[in-house]
Point group: C2
């Protein structure tokens, strides 16, 4: 193999390339209209976590946006797996992306006329909140900018409409916080830039019922709570629920369960990760190590096992 | 010159390339967070129209998003002009784009850590509404999906957050219409996918006061109305104002003044372009021919004159 995939491997326009050579045309509507969807699955110690759940959500997102990539879901999964194998990464952030592409008819402004694309890439593991910040508990700022309404852009269809989240991030950083959480226009808690949020109140684990991605890690937290007999629910949450929480944590594929120690002026758990947050974080990773929902990658002998295991 | 720029010319990562080779990295936050702004200026018969106004708006957009591209505004204007000259196009859609880029520090999730980019390209003239449709008057559908709130994403900062507009377009096409116009969550008229809208009521020309780009063509229409002593104003408009309009038209750089003949069930001006719409459309192009606000390009002798004319 002559190419250097050590920074990551990608599949674009039908070919595998090192991540630093992976591009999309400047005229792709994925850029010029943010007309795209994606999913991110992680690889931990050489195995995918909840791959099927990510593929199912990706399919729902594609259907919702009427995107039809040029591969079957089984083929897309195998391409993504091949990216991981090429990169050699044992811990990886793996993205599957589909963009509207460009019109087959030059100058057309109709999305129906576009040739939809599929992109996949595997890059080194990313923590949305850096490990040292997770260690002391993240400091969150409640943004003044409201989350884009679910009526305008469906947050359950994973998308790149991050203008509001980026403004929230700038606000948070300006005020000395690590990251942000956004409320909707009615004052209900939604999500942060790349993660779901949870609060712990009187031993109950709660996460917002609106304005947020139906995160696979969010579902995993609910599953883990059920296994540990911790009461958990998806409910409406307001600013006051954040400011009166006993504990708080964020959940995302790119980081897992990430404890929060401060939300604006409210300091929780002696200014550190709370006990239920830590229990869930440790259980989350222990379940990975136990092989729960894991699909091991075969880095040595890729072709045949994956064709069978991941479907054609 | 060995490269073929006949489909258009672009400037990406510091180099001029044919448009079909112009790409951005898949990891650029311009794609993965739609963290970008842009402006589009047109070239008509070899001259830019209102170039300075577009550059001023582009600067305001950059400032608003805290984007700092690696060139001065004068340099960016000259690069864009060079794209036009390379393409040889006498009528062109010219884009200036800046994206957040990628973090200088691998794995960072802070926009402040990113190396912002500048992209320019000149491609053949595009009409947002095709000429034959403009001829009979466009048929518009009022979308059920509301425009992304101005509180979440500032519509006066030209952006690629088009998820709502794309959904509106699909709705319109499904119902047999040419394109769409979106209301905000309170029921006020905003804009369509890539254009401002105007109604004519009792001889007055009106355009929405909210939820819309402050279009250069919109401003031009207001200027032309003043020159023709037609009463014009920026006002709140509701669905009923659309459905009771005497005339309606769209305005954008990529098409100019584009008459509308139907809005949902409401047929205007005997199902054709209205007289004030046509007067403004014709006056718009006549003013171009008269050299109003035009900056001619020198296709033969580019280097020196532009360094002086467009600023360093």
């Amino acid at each position: 193999m002559s190419k250097d995939y050590s920074n990551g491997a990608a599949h674009v326009r039908g070919a595998f390339v090192p991540i630093d050579e992976a591009t999309i045309p400047v005229l792709d509507w994925g850029l010029t209209r943010s007309d795209a969807t994606y999913d991110v699955v992680h690889v931990r110690n050489g195995a995918f976590f909840r791959l099927d759940d990510h593929l199912k959500r990706f399919q729902r997102s594609l259907d919702s946006l009427r995107l039809v990539p040029p591969y079957s879901m089984g083929e897309m999964a195998r391409i993504a797996a091949q990216c991981v194998v090429l990169s050699g990464l044992r811990n990886s952030y793996v993205a599957l992306v589909s963009t509207r592409g460009r019109p087959r008819i030059a100058g057309s402004r109709r999305p129906q006329d576009c040739e939809n694309t599929f992109i996949a890439y595997a890059i080194p593991w990313i923590d949305v909140i850096p490990p040292d910040v997770q260690e002391r508990g993240a400091h969150l700022h409640i943004a003044s900018v409201p989350r884009i309404s679910s009526r305008s852009v469906d947050p359950t269809v994973k998308n790149y409409h991050w203008g509001d989240l980026t403004r929230g991030l700038f606000e948070a950083h300006d005020a000395g916080f690590d990251t942000t959480v956004l409320l909707d226009a009615d004052g209900f808690v939604t999500e942060g830039p790349g993660f779901n949020v949870f609060v712990v109140q009187d031993g109950r684990v709660l996460t917002p019922d609106r304005g947020a991605l139906e995160g696979i890690t969010r579902q995993t937290v609910l599953d883990l709570c059920a296994m540990k007999r911790i009461d958990a629910a998806i409910v409406p949450l307001r600013r006051s629920d954040l400011l009166e929480a006993d504990e708080m944590f964020c959940a995302t594929t790119a980081g897992g369960v990430m404890p929060v120690s401060r939300i604006d002026g409210h300091i929780m758990s002696n200014d550190g990760p709370g006990p239920i947050s830590m229990l869930l974080k440790e259980f989350y990773w222990a379940q990975h190590d136990a092989g729960w929902h894991m699909t091991p990658l075969d880095y040595e002998n890729f072709e045949e096992p994956y064709a069978a295991r991941l479907g054609a």
